[in-house]
């Protein structure tokens, strides 16, 4: 079980801010493929990885980063703070 969080338009497309997901995905990219295959709203949110960022346990990570030991994954668009 992994906690998955969504922010900004990713949250809006998927339709919820967070959920617990049962997955055997080895990497972030695997998880995205798995979810995209499950439902169109995930496929829509993850369609263009270049417009997405991911954080593992609140640290920015790459899409090929392994999920082993990770408790929290977050997907969101490029940040626009400041």
């Amino acid at each position: 079980m992994i906690e998955v969080l969504y922010f900004a338009w990713v949250r809006e497309r998927i339709g919820l801010p967070r959920e617990r997901i049962e997955t055997g995905a080895a990497t972030v990219a695997d998880l995205m493929a798995e979810l995209s295959a499950r439902e169109p709203r995930y496929a829509a949110a993850f369609a263009d990885p270049s417009s997405l960022r991911v954080a593992l346990d609140q640290e920015l990570a790459d899409f090929d980063a392994p999920l082993a030991g990770v408790r929290e994954v977050a997907f969101f668009p490029p940040m626009t703070g400041g």
Binding site: L5, F7, A8, A55, Q58, A74, F76, P77, G81, G82
Partner: protein, 157 residues
């Protein structure tokens, strides 16, 4: 060093006064010669129809990311103190979104650290802005120029 991520409005003037008083009285007493602040303000749209800006953030990660940027700034430049305040929630044009303050013995360090913190807050702290106008709501797109601004710090590293 103080980091605050908050819903509540704050007064940049009162924060600057408090920050300077802290520098003057703390353990680096007498060492501060330069204080730089940056305040980010909600600009209106070109057509003047911005009703509000909504700022979403990632509680927990936000504070951690800002603390990391502040630690990195303190490692790169000789600072006597620094401050970051960033609001989230709904703001209207003219309201202050966020503020950075840096204190240092010399002005070059205070300016560089403030610009560094701003560049990282813009593109690496988990905040997202949505603009609400009469014609609808739209997420603000990240700017290439903000991403490019980070390059100057990598070269120095």
């Amino acid at each position: 060093m103080r980091i605050a991520v908050q819903l509540e409005p704050f007064d940049t003037g009162a924060e600057l006064s408090g920050f300077q008083a802290g520098c003057a009285g703390g353990e680096t007493r007498g060492e501060t010669g330069a204080v730089v602040t940056f305040s980010g303000v909600v600009r209106n749209s070109a057509s003047g129809d911005l009703a509000a800006m909504e700022i979403e953030h990632y509680p927990g990660m936000t504070e951690g990311a800002i603390a990391k940027f502040a630690a990195e700034a303190s490692a790169r430049w000789l600072l006597t103190d620094c401050l970051v305040i960033h609001r989230h929630g709904r703001l209207t044009p003219g309201e202050t979104i966020m503020m950075v303050a840096t204190a240092a013995p010399h002005r070059a360090d205070a300016f560089a650290a403030a610009e560094f913190l701003m560049d990282y807050l813009k593109s690496r702290a988990p905040f997202w802005k949505k603009e609400i106008t009469a014609s609808g709501a739209e997420w603000v797109a990240a700017k290439d120029s903000d991403e490019a601004a980070l390059d100057r710090w990598r070269e120095e590293g």
